[in-house]
Subunit: 461 residues, 2 copies
């Protein structure tokens, strides 16, 4: 609960009707709600534009109030869940969902500028209508916001060929932690005019400032999208297929995998039904002009074919969409299997994916919890997941231990703790083991851009 | 000249034979030598490994001595030319050319780690031998060093599809300005474990620290490289072809242009001779597996064909190599036209390339100096160039004025001062006009990573 003075301060900036107190429950959680995480906050504030964002940040810096910037609340790491840790300060949620005015789409420049509160799927549709394509397709596209995608440097299936969201951002407008508005980059595809402060904000999880506007560099809308999914009896066969795809010369937009447990959890929605004995799946996509993509799809299918139980390569739009709908629903299907899940997003060098999958299973067995993995094979990025009954406190505790043990796998195999979800709250213990020099340097950078220490304290760093 | 004490200090760290005093002339210049820039330094020091680099940096921080890190000295902005400005402090050149030990190539991970002193062409060859491909091909590949490529975030023709060098770097080892060694990232393709300090070092032009080792993410070696060059009567026809290529759906690895003056300057080496009346050229490349690249080349040629005087699409290796050799030699040919040149690398939004070219010509006419442009059309990145007689001081002064006027074009058209060469020394006046909040933020970041202010002072920021 906010004090009357705090409510009045914020109301003067954004209007009383845009100060929410008490804070609606949906602004106090993200996808970690399925592992039992919920937060608390003094109030939530919904500024209408960059000027109001700056005023809120200046107010917070002056009063020493913690701010938690928030997009669609679809994160997997508790980065935008305020007050969820015992040592979290009382915070105000800065919701960016009203930052929706003033999009500019410039087909002649293969560029578009959207306010940070734009829903991902909305900007994807608007780009396509203008003949433009924003390739990254992070999960939860219908509810995640652009600002959150950039602030977490989100990934997704198509990041294999096209890179994470960062690779598509040529400019941002932001409010830094001292309340100053700054414009970084612009509608150009190459730019070494300054230190890469733009890249520094991408993936900073709200710890340096608040993004208010994003300029994207875009490509021509593809004429066809041709996914191919191959099913294998076991992991070994699947891993061999992944290696063959990586070596075939055609770079697919996506190179995904799903293990047997994930396949089983999502089998009901698998188009045409899963073939008998399927214990591993590899999904690729060729995307682009009609004169080229089918040939790429053929090369990819050739790489996938040896040892496959079945190879399905839909070409009709409805069948293609059905396959992706199934893939997009995997995370939810896995959650539904036992009511909850703890899902990590370890990343390992390409050749260590098999070792990582084996290590995840070993961790599950050791802690007595069911585990499964799926994810972005081409990036060595696995969603190592513990399935939990959220109402069983003892199991939830074991699951948390297992999830932490999984994080250790990443560094043991020469990888990283997180490829796309971020550190947030749930990985910060593991992140505390990173190189002290590196941690000191990033703390020093944080301190100069957020001198009052108000921006999402206790997250990321 | 260094004092005996300074020579002795450095000699104790790297061995007396690796302290150069007087400093050889080739360590006091870069490609800006063709616009009359040369420097001076107390001494040059050539550390053998990261440990010695760290010791040199600690010595410099302790004694308050400016350090100028240096790769192959092929830059176009005076970033590694010590003491060339009147207000430059006395400096020691930190040459990285002995950092050549300990490369690791990991084909199974599509990754390789090279020391920062590796020659670009050498690492390209070694990757290819292992079936791996490092796509960025900055100019001067036979003399530029990997560390310099990363420190400037170099571009080049293939950056259109494949991004600048930054896009290929997954990890670095560096010595920060306080002498601390730090490892950022690793052999993984996605990583949001920390703030993007890795990106911050890329393109920082030696102002934050010294890179000692770089880990690259690589792709399968392409089976074929198929360039196509189309020649047009004039700029308008060429610009229409560029727009058609951008819209055709196939993303070429390179999308280059050359104007009439550049074509004329390099006509002697043009394979098969330039067709009569050629006043503008557009060069594209399809690169990849033999099953796909020829189709991409056909699509690209179709986009280029309308209004072309001639379209040449060599397929034999020798002819392909000859065309690229000609392209690689363009910068030298343009320099040779009058003995010297001042070459910028403005970047503008795609639709403003024609406006930029016209503005460059207007600037040349206004200052009474011959100008020409060529560059990376797909990136809106033009090498706007003044041709000069280096021995004519009055002309050189007019040329400097014209070059500065060209930089103003970039911001007027919504672009940036530099797409790949960096700010260095020659663009720092223009960079002083950047947004004050941005400049304050980057200065603050510089100050915490280089607290003694010894790293390449007076450059970039």
């Amino acid at each position: 609960m906010a004090s009357p003075a705090l409510r009045a301060d914020l109301g003067r900036i954004v209007g009383d009707e845009h100060v929410l107190d008490p804070v609606p429950r949906e602004l106090l959680q993200d996808a970690t709600e399925s592992r039992g995480l919920t937060g608390r906050a003094l109030a939530a504030v919904r500024p209408a534009d960059a000027e109001e964002v700056a005023a809120v940040v200046r107010w917070a810096a002056r009063t020493g109030t913690a701010l938690v910037p928030r997009g669609g609340g679809t994160g997997f790491s508790g980065g935008a869940v305020p007050g969820a840790a015992p040592d979290d300060p009382d915070a105000v949620v800065l919701a960016t969902d009203r930052l929706t005015r003033g999009a500019t789409i410039r087909p002649e420049d293969w560029s578009a500028t959207f306010p940070a509160g734009t829903v991902t799927a909305d900007l994807q549709r608007r780009c396509l209508e203008a003949g433009l394509f924003f390739a990254p397709n992070p999960g939860s596209a219908e509810s995640s916001l652009l600002g959150g995608n950039v602030a977490t440097n989100a990934g997704g299936p198509r990041s294999f060929k096209h890179g994470p969201v960062r690779a598509w951002v040529s400019g941002v407008e932001a409010v830094l932690g001292d309340g100053e508005r700054v414009r970084l980059g612009g509608a150009v595809r190459k730019n070494v005019e300054t230190l890469d402060l733009l890249g520094l904000l991408c993936g900073s999880e709200g710890t340096l400032g608040v993004l208010t506007e994003v300029t994207l560099k875009l490509q021509p809308a593809p004429e066809v999208a041709l996914p191919t999914i191959a099913l294998y009896a076991d992991r070994e066969a699947g891993l061999a297929a992944i290696a063959a795809v990586l070596a075939c010369g055609v770079v697919p937009t996506a190179l995904e995998f799903l293990d047997g447990t994930t396949l089983a959890a999502s089998a009901g929605a698998f188009p045409g039904g899963l073939p008998e004995g399927a214990g591993f799946a590899v999904l690729v996509e060729a995307l682009g002009p009609a004169a080229v993509a089918p040939l790429e799809a053929r090369e990819l299918a050739t790489a996938l074919a040896p040892d496959a139980l079945a190879v399905r390569a839909p070409t009709e739009r409805a069948a293609v969409d059905a396959l992706w709908r199934w893939r997009d629903g995997v995370s939810i299907a896995v959650t539904a299997a036992r009511g909850g899940k703890l899902s990590e997003d370890l990343v390992v060098p390409a050749s260590r994916l098999g070792d990582a999958l084996a290590a995840v299973e070993e961790v599950g067995a050791r802690h007595g919890v069911p585990v499964t993995s799926w994810g972005h094979a081409g990036d060595g990025n696995l969603h190592a997941t513990v399935l939990v009954d959220r109402d069983d406190a003892a199991e939830l505790a074991r699951a948390e231990q297992a999830a932490h043990a999984m994080l250790e796998i990443a560094h043991r195999l020469g990888g990283a703790l997180t490829g796309e979800h971020g550190i947030g709250l749930v990985k910060r213990e593991a992140a505390a083991a990173l190189d002290p020099t590196l941690r000191r340097a990033q703390r020093a950078v944080k301190d100069v851009l957020d001198p009052a220490g108000i921006m999402n304290p206790g997250r990321k760093l």
